[in-house]
Structure formats: C-alpha cells, structure tokens
Symmetry: C2
C-alpha cells in the first residue's frame, strides 16, 4: 500500500481548497491537493457565474420591455430559449476553463485525483487504495444542494443550481422551491425570460433579509414579476411530463409545472470524509466546530474553509478562509488568528440586496433612504427600494446595513469599507458623493443617523439640495 | 432710492448660491439672495439632469440593439424622437420644480429678483433702481455656454446644452463641436438614438482625459458609435435648413448637418457684475483670484463659489464651495479654511470616465486594470476599458486614478474615499470586494502597485483566482 506524505493535505479543489493549498505552499509547506474530479469551482461551474449569466439575459429582456418608457419603441421580444442557455453555458465553460487552467499550473505532484476519507486524525485513505499522511489537513469539500426525497423522486423534472444550466432550452413553467438568494436570483431571471414562475417557501419572508422593514418592500417589488406562495408546505409528484405541485399552510392550492427548481439550501459536503474517525467536535448538523479567526477545528491539526464550514458561504470569504486555513495548517500548531472581513453578501436580484455588517441591535440608530424618489433612479425609471443603515447610538459609527434598491451591489462596497474603517455618518457626509448618482441616495440615511445621535451632518455638507438638483 | 441692507448678499440662486445663502444664514447672518430669474439650478434645468435623461434614453436603445447577444431577439427599435424629448423635458421639469420649491421655502424677504452689479466693493446696484449694501458678498452667478460668433450666426441651427433639450424631436444629424464632457455625453446619447453624429475638436484627445494610456482606449471605444474628427479647425455656415460644416487640420472635409451643438466650454457668467468696481485681482480670463480653502477673493469681503470661479465645475463641489463661501462671508473678516474634497469628476459616457485625485507625477507608481477580460463585465457583454490607479512610490498610498470602464461611476467613489483616507493598495486588498462584481476588477491594479512598491498584497488576499472563478 502506497502512502503519500506531506505537511498539509487539502481536500477539495474549489475556491477555498485552491487558496488553502497556495497559502500553505507559500508558507513553506509541502502540499497535496486532493479532489475526486477537479471539475472547476462551484462558483464558476454552477454558482455565481452561470447564475449571473442567466440574470444578464433576464436583464436584457427586461430592458427591451422597458424601452418604451424612454421613447424607444419595440415589439414584444422573442426569447430564444436555446440561444439563452447556449450563451450561459458557452461563457460559463470559459470561466470553468480559467479555473481548470489554474489547477493545471500547480507544480507537479500536488494534485491527487481521488476521493479521500479519514482513517484517523493524521491519515486519509484514498479510494485508489493509497493513504495520505500529513502534519495537518484542510477540509474544503464545499457544499451540495439539498434534495429532499420527495423531490428526488421527480427524477429529471427536479432541478438544482447544479443541473438547471444544462437545460437545452427554457421551460414554459417552473416551481421554485425556496425563496433564498439562489431561488430569488434564478426565479426573477427565468420570469424575465418568459418562464411562468412560482416561488414557494415555508417561511413568510424572502431572501433571508433580516431587516423587517426592507423585506416587505423588496417582496412587493419582486412580486410585480414573480408569484410568491409563502408560508406553505409543498407536495410534489411527477405528473406526465411535469410536476403536480400542491400546497397547504397560509394558503392552499395546486398547479402544474414543467420543472421544479429545488433551492432549499446547500449544506456542507462532508458525508464521505468519515469525520467520526477524526474525533472532531461537531455541531447539530454534523459540521465541525471551528474558530473563524484561525479556521482550526478545536485544537486539532484539521482546518476547514469555504462552504464546507457552513458559514459565510460566498466566494470572497471562501478565498479568505482558504488562505487563513492554509497558512495556519502550515504553521500548525503555532496558529495565528486573522482579522475577518466585515460580513457582506449581495443577492443579485433587481433591485439587488446588500447585507453588510451586523444586524440592527435593540439600541441601534437606524437611518433610512428611500429610492422611490431618488434623482438618478428616477432618471433611469428604476426609482424603487429602500436602504437602512445601522449605527452606534454613541457616535453614529456605522455598524451594518440592509439595502434593497438599484445599484446596492455597488453601494454596498462603500458601506462595507466604511464599517471596516469605523467611519461615522458625519465623517461619510464629508466624503465626495457625486451628482447625480445612486450613491448620493444614501445621504438621507446618513443625515438621519447624525440627527439621531446629535452629531453634525458633515462640516460643509449642504442639507438643502433636493433630489436631482 | 431704496437701499437694502444685510450682512451677506449672495448673487445667483443656483446650487452654489442657494448653499451659500443657507450657510450664511445658519451662521447667524442676515442674508439676501439675488437672482434675475430664479429659474432653477443649471444642474436641474440644463445640466446634469436633462443630460442624464437623454443618456438614459440612449442606453435603452443600446440595450435593445444588444439584446440579441443574450438570446433575446428583437427587431431594430423605432426611436420616437418626440417621445424621447418629451420624457426628458417632463422629468427635467419635475427636477426643476424641486429646486424652485427649495427657493419658495426661503424665509420671506430673502429672495430679490433683479440683476445686480457692483458700484463699489460694498454696494450693489440692482436693475430695478435699488441698491444693496452688505458686509460681504458671495458671487455665485454660474456659467454660460461659450458661443463664438461664427456659430451664433447660425441662429436656431446652433444649439448648446441650454437649448438642445427644447428640441421637439430628434434631428437626423448633428455636428458636435467640442469633445469635452458635455460634448461626449450628448453625442453618444444622440448617436444611440439614431442621430448621425460627428464630433469635432481642435485637440487630438477627447474628454479632457489626462491619462495618455486611458485616453486612446476610450477614444477607440467611443469611435465604435461616434465619428470623431479631431485636430481640426471648423468652419460653419447656414445652408438651407441646416449647417454646412467644413474643416481643415489633421484632416479636411465638409459635411451637412441639421444642427450644430456648440460644446466648447462654459465660462463664468461674470460680465454683468461690473467687477472693475470691486478692485479684485483677476486672472487672464477675468475670473477673480480666490483661495480655494476659504473661497475668499484676495483679502476682500467678496467670496466666490460654483461655476463662477471656473474651478471644479461639478455639482457636489458647487454645493461645498457655496457652503464654505457662505459660512466665511458670515464670519468675515475671520475666515476659516476648509478642507476640500478629493477632486472627483465623472463623465457619464458608456463606459463612464472617472477622474480622481491628482494626475500621475513623474515618480508615481501606476497600477493598471483592464476590463477587456473582466469576469462580471464579460457576463454582461461589456468587457471593455481600462482603469489606471496612481500611487505614492514610498508606500503605495493611492494618489489618483483615471478610469474608463463599465461601472467606474460607482467604483470611482471607492477610490475617492480611499484617497481621502490615505489608504494604501495593500490595505485596500484586505477590504471586501464581492464576487462577481466590477469592483473586484480593480484588484490587478492594486496588486501591481503593491508589487512595484514591494508591499504585501494584503494579509490574506488570494492571488490566484482567475476572472470569474
């Protein structure tokens, strides 16, 4: 039996695993990167990129339908479903090729194509019969879409974010199960592309939006394009070429769809690792308990990063976590805490949802900025939505924000950077906000915070300019 | 003869004048605000807002033409020129009404409708025969489009940014004289709306873009939609219902256009003020010499703000300058310097041009980020353009940037704030940049700066993720 030896063995060659391997190697460790497929990252193959491509197509259709507002007259667009999906896959494949190229550039002998499971806390068994012994490990096996048995029984009628982009054309109708980020992004894109979409969720709120004022504003906006059936339990069964869906709860009914998109979560893919052999402490879901500053699982030599840890499951965090885990795996046992980024997630609906920093606490000061009458948004006929910014009642220092309004994917960066730097609302009002932009739409929220904490509204900031002045 | 008396007399009720009057009044001064028309601000009536409205219409037409890329099939759009212009004016008028409402909310007796000229350094004569005596003055008379006599002789065939939005419909052809910000914005919008546009300029560069690498990239991009005739002197004469234009210089030729848009600059509107009576020192163009930290003209009791001072002629600076001038006019002679914002201008072409901070110096380190292969830009089929970021060679502290690429109107705010706060490229790479966004497209520029100054590329920033990973 052959045994491979290294300082740091990384399991999973996605965004987190690739970052971990690089960081460990840069820190002087010998490394192995073990993956059963080396198929490219979740982001490039089935996540961020293909979803953004489908969203871009939906946006194009939406722009055509709205052109009349501006005096540009066009007939109803024809959606060429096959062409839409062909572009999604073509561009997606180029992104995947990019990530595969970065794998191909790894030094010889580092990539090991195999499925790994722990036999003890310092040894992996590979499915090709070999073993791997390492000083430390990084678990970066990512996540997999949850597929409850009732939906699995639907066969190819049940799609997930991992199969939907393989559709040869757009279906006529789709039931989207789950009103989270993935469900909303894909549902809106499909609806704009002419698919009759209904979004079902057991909960009453959508998008995981934690702010109780922003959420209904967003829901009303998206409901102009999507049917929502919330607060219900869904039953689904195969019916001819499609799926019969019935639901009970806050409402009840039944309908028939060509497909069901199951978007009820992407839990960590840990089941093949035989974590029982590691002795790691795990939470109720079976995920190892880890320190987010070091990515270390307990005091063990095992680190975890990316979607596998079920926390901060977005790409830039997977990359950060991989780098932290890889560096610390190389330094083990002398691990070093890293400062984590300000929490920041974007859901690329229209309007986009940006969630930044900490949720509002009981004593938070909250500043609101409505985009219903915002100058630049009105110019572009997309004056909708609401931004709520949270601040420390002592001094107006920003602590968080939930924003669902046009351009918040961009504006969110400003707020994330401001929170990272401990900026106050007063200080931000002294920084340039160009006119006319969506960014300056934040001013009412910042001023409200200043007033609430009795702080000045910026040394020379002018309070009297109306929208579009 | 009636003489009005006050502490601070503000001449001009545009953005700068309104801000100055408010600031002076807040500082405890009695004020008068003198304007011959109270017609609303330049920005709302003939500047930022109507131009952005025309740009929005052009963008709508462009989106329709590009929809096929995404699988959304539409015939060539019909541009309803009358509808385009009607929306521009309708929405513009609402913005103007907003600024007029802010004038209507002034306390009684402050607004004085008249034309004012200085009779000495402490007295104004109004055209209604009254005089105004004040402790101090703020000149905020704005700017007016330059109209050389040759173009003036064309009568109603010669348009400026002050008359173009009154067109009842779109013309078939337009010669745009001047490739500055106003010329480019309107030329591209008109071209997208089906107008045959040629842009003429005496210079060889466009958009006032100071970066010699970014400018040709931008010019090539805009030349896909616009005809540029650069480095030429233009002759124009009325010919039937239109204008015969001929040119000589780097090229020569002649062509006929329905209209000429004269966009060769907006110099200060100071001619009616009789500045000779004030004794102020003036520059070669006749503009009073002033201190940009106090807005004071020499040691006099006269302050200046907004377009009237021919410096930083954008709205947020007019507002800042008005506030500084008004506050200091109220404090005169005890004036107090203010810290001015980081220079920041945006030209809302597609791609937009953002110019921030200081131009590159001889020893500047320059980081480049091409958007030709940028992930999110590719997703949206707008992967073009270039951003160049300048930094201090000592430590990689950002000093300026010139960027012409998609989303730079948004991204520019991040760079402006970063420069204001003295951020280094290393520090910025530790701040969250979401994936996939246009913002993260800056990373190559920031990393290049880090490498050039031998600084780390962020503590846990990962260097290996390809575009779209």
């Amino acid at each position: 039996m052959q045994t491979l030896e290294c300082d740091v063995a990384v399991i999973g060659a996605g965004t987190a695993g690739l970052a971990a391997e690089r960081a460990a190697r840069r820190a002087g460790a010998t490394t192995l990167l073990i993956d059963d497929r080396f198929a490219g990252t979740t982001c490039a193959s089935v996540g961020c990129m293909p979803s953004k491509l489908l969203i871009a197509a939906g946006k194009a259709a939406h722009a055509v339908r709205n052109a009349g507002i501006f005096g540009v007259t066009v007939p109803t667009p024809t959606i060429d479903g096959a062409a839409v999906m062909a572009r999604v896959r073509h561009e997606r494949d180029r992104f995947v090729a990019g990530t595969k190229a970065s794998i191909a550039r790894l030094p010889d002998g580092i990539a090991v194509q195999a499925t790994a499971r722990f036999v003890d806390a310092t040894t992996l068994a590979l499915d090709d019969g070999r073993h791997v012994r390492a000083e430390s490990f990084v678990i970066a096996t990512g996540s997999r879409p949850m597929m409850p048995p009732m939906f699995a029984a639907l066969g190819d009628r049940a799609l997930t974010n991992e199969t939907i982009f393989e559709l040869s054309t757009l279906p006529a109708s789709m039931a989207v199960i789950g009103a989270g980020a993935i469900g909303l992004e894909l549902a809106q894109a499909l609806a704009r592309l002419g698919v009759a979409v209904t979004v079902f969720d057991t909960g009453a709120r959508i998008g995981g939006v934690k702010d109780a004022v922003v959420e209904p504003v967003l829901r009303d906006l998206l409901a102009r394009e999507l049917d929502f059936v919330l607060g219900v339990t869904v039953e689904a069964r195969r019916d001819g070429d499609g799926v019969a869906v019935s639901w009970t709860g806050d409402s009840s009914g039944k309908a028939w769809y060509d497909h069901v998109l199951v978007a009820v979560g992407r839990p960590p893919a840990l089941d093949r690792l035989n974590l029982d052999a590691t002795g790691l402490v795990r939470d109720d879901h079976g995920t190892p308990v880890f320190d987010p500053a070091t990515m270390q699982c307990g005091a063990s030599a095992i680190f975890i990063a990316g979607d596998a840890d079920a926390s901060r499951t977005v790409l830039h965090e997977a990359s950060d976590e991989g780098a932290i885990a890889g560096r610390n795996a190389a330094r083990f046992p002398d691990v070093e805490p890293a400062e984590r980024a300000v929490p920041f997630t974007i859901t690329f609906t229209d309007p986009p949802i940006a969630t930044i920093g900490q949720p509002a606490g009981d004593d938070s000061v909250i500043g609101e900025a409505s985009y219903a009458d915002q100058g630049r948004a009105k110019v572009e006929a997309r004056n909708v939505g609401l931004a709520r910014i949270y601040a420390d009642p002592k001094d107006g220092r920003l602590t968080g924000a939930v924003m669902a309004a046009p351009g918040m994917d961009h504006v969110g960066h400003l707020i994330a950077w401001a929170i990272a730097r401990g900026e106050t609302a007063t200080a931000l009002l002294d920084l340039p906000l160009y006119h006319p932009t969506l960014e300056e739409g934040l001013k009412p929220a910042l001023r409200a915070i200043c007033h609430a904490v009795h702080a000045p509204t910026g040394s020379d900031a002018d309070r009297g300019i109306p929208p579009g002045a």
